[in-house]
Amino acid sequence: MMRALWTAGSGMVAQQANVDVISNNLANVNTTGFKKSRAEFEDLMYQTIRAAGSTTGPDSQLPAGVQMGHGAKLVATTKMYTQGSFQATGNELDMTIAGDGFFQITMPDGTLAYTRNGAFQRDSQGRIVTSEGYPIEPAITIPSTATAVMVSKDGRISATIPGQSTPQDLGQLQLARFVNPAGLSALGSSLLVPTAASGDAVVTNPTVDGAGGIEQKYLEMSNVQVVDEMVNMIVAQRAYEMNSKAVTTADSMLEIAAQLKR
């Protein structure tokens, strides 16, 4: 059958994946701490029909060959860890990381997950938890009598207790860094887990080794640029359309071939 049918078909599949990735970025345009992904493509293998440089005579070689490509493939969906913009919320348990680094979260099974979403809450025991109720690591408990919670840039958390002249120190927030954050695997719910590609977490205090300082009462917005995504969507749709034209052309050619025999 015609190679073009499959080649153009692979282009359609690739562009469909592109639209999927763009759609997810757009769906999370208002998700706190969301990092956009980018679909990356590469060409598929080539069939060498005539190799360049093969001998055509006693003293002559083919200057160029015949190599037929077989389409495109999705090779990676890379997360882009650029800083999102900040939004002032006034909520004292909202925190944002100005720099690289991730908050550490203890999952129900005891393992650690990582997030840039600093919209924390207080649970019934006074622990600082995510919106899902997972505590941050190291765990920090706010006394029930506390009237205000302060988070310093370097991650020290303290609380004002009525009747005490100095704020009570509650603990030290720590951040994790990764050599290759693009290699983290997304779990959903703004949570990420390390993989062999990301390397192991390097735990430091905020502001140390580029981990970034903590800004209290701010949230990090998603880093999705709506205009970029819309333009990418248009490009992906047109690319899909062009590939569909190639598929219909190949189909028409097959039809002609079939009609040769009358």
């Binding site: 015609m2 153009a8 690739a14 360049a52 440089g53 389409g71 390397g199 080794d209 580029g210 009609q259």
Partner: protein, 254 residues
């Protein structure tokens, strides 16, 4: 049999190959650093026809017997740039290729969408190391990466003003770019006798080179290929009709 039926069929086959190549260009319209291909056809060696009846053998001229794909040439034009803001994206402005270390040896690419591996090395999306003048480029983990327009890679430690240069991207050119064979995965392999030469081409950080496929040209070529195919199919049918006459009508009596 009638010679023309094979001639027309060879035309159909050549247009099939042309459609295959156009489809590949279209499939890769969003592939970073992709370079489009074009088919170049040639005619088969024409036959010298000679008169053999009625007297001495005399030449009466040549006659073509069809076409074939002679070459699929890669057009190494510059693709458009797309600014991404990602510090590990690098686009080449002008001629030249990045050198990539793969298990099968050195390969060349225009796809500058690089990543940092878990070991802190600059790698491609496939995980192959990007080579600098002195071997793989080790980025470490905590640093901001600056890549100057001449490919010098500098690292800036957090809180430091001075950047430290750790190497320079190796960018090479080929005197004859036709000596490069596409291998898939955005990579080119050099023919054994092609010698890469050091290049002084500039690069741009935080940008990617897009495919140099031109949508309008490809769509027009697609239409042209389709119509040529159709015309050749008509010629096949005409020859078939002629043969039908010869077989069924010539010997008919009464």
């Amino acid at each position: 049999m009638i010679r023309g039926i094979y001639t027309s069929a060879s035309g159909m086959l050549a247009e099939t190959a042309r459609t295959d190549v156009i489809s590949n260009n279209l499939a890769n319209v969003n592939t970073t650093g992709y370079k489009r291909d074009v088919t170049i056809n040639k005619d088969f060696a024409s036959l010298l026809m000679e008169r053999i009846n009625d007297g001495p053998v005399t030449p009466i001229g040549g006659m073509g017997v069809g076409t074939m794909v002679d070459e699929i040439a890669t057009i190494q034009d510059q693709g458009a740039f797309k600014v991404t803001g990602n510090p590990l994206d690098v686009a080449i402005k002008g001629k030249g290729f990045f050198v990539i270390q793969t298990p099968a040896g050195e390969r060349y690419t225009r796809n500058g969408s690089f990543q940092r591996s878990a070991q802190g090395e600059l790698v491609t999306s496939e995980g192959y190391r990007v080579l600098g003048q002195g071997g793989p480029i080790q980025l470490g983990d905590t640093e901001k990466v600056n890549i100057s327009s001449d490919g010098r890679v500098q690292l800036q430690q957090p809180g430091q003003i001075e950047a430290v240069e750790i190497g320079q991207l190796r960018i090479v050119e080929f005197a004859d770019e036709k000596q490069l064979l596409k291998e898939g995965d955005s990579m080119f392999k050099a023919a054994p006798n092609a010698r890469p030469q050091a290049s002084t081409t500039m690069v741009e950080q935080s940008a990617l080179e897009m495919a140099n496929t031109n949508a309008v040209t490809e769509m027009i070529n697609l239409i042209a290929a389709f119509r040529s195919y159709e015309i050749n199919s008509k010629a096949v049918q005409t020859h078939d009709t002629l043969m039908g006459r010869a077989v069924n009508d010539v010997g008919k009596l009464g």
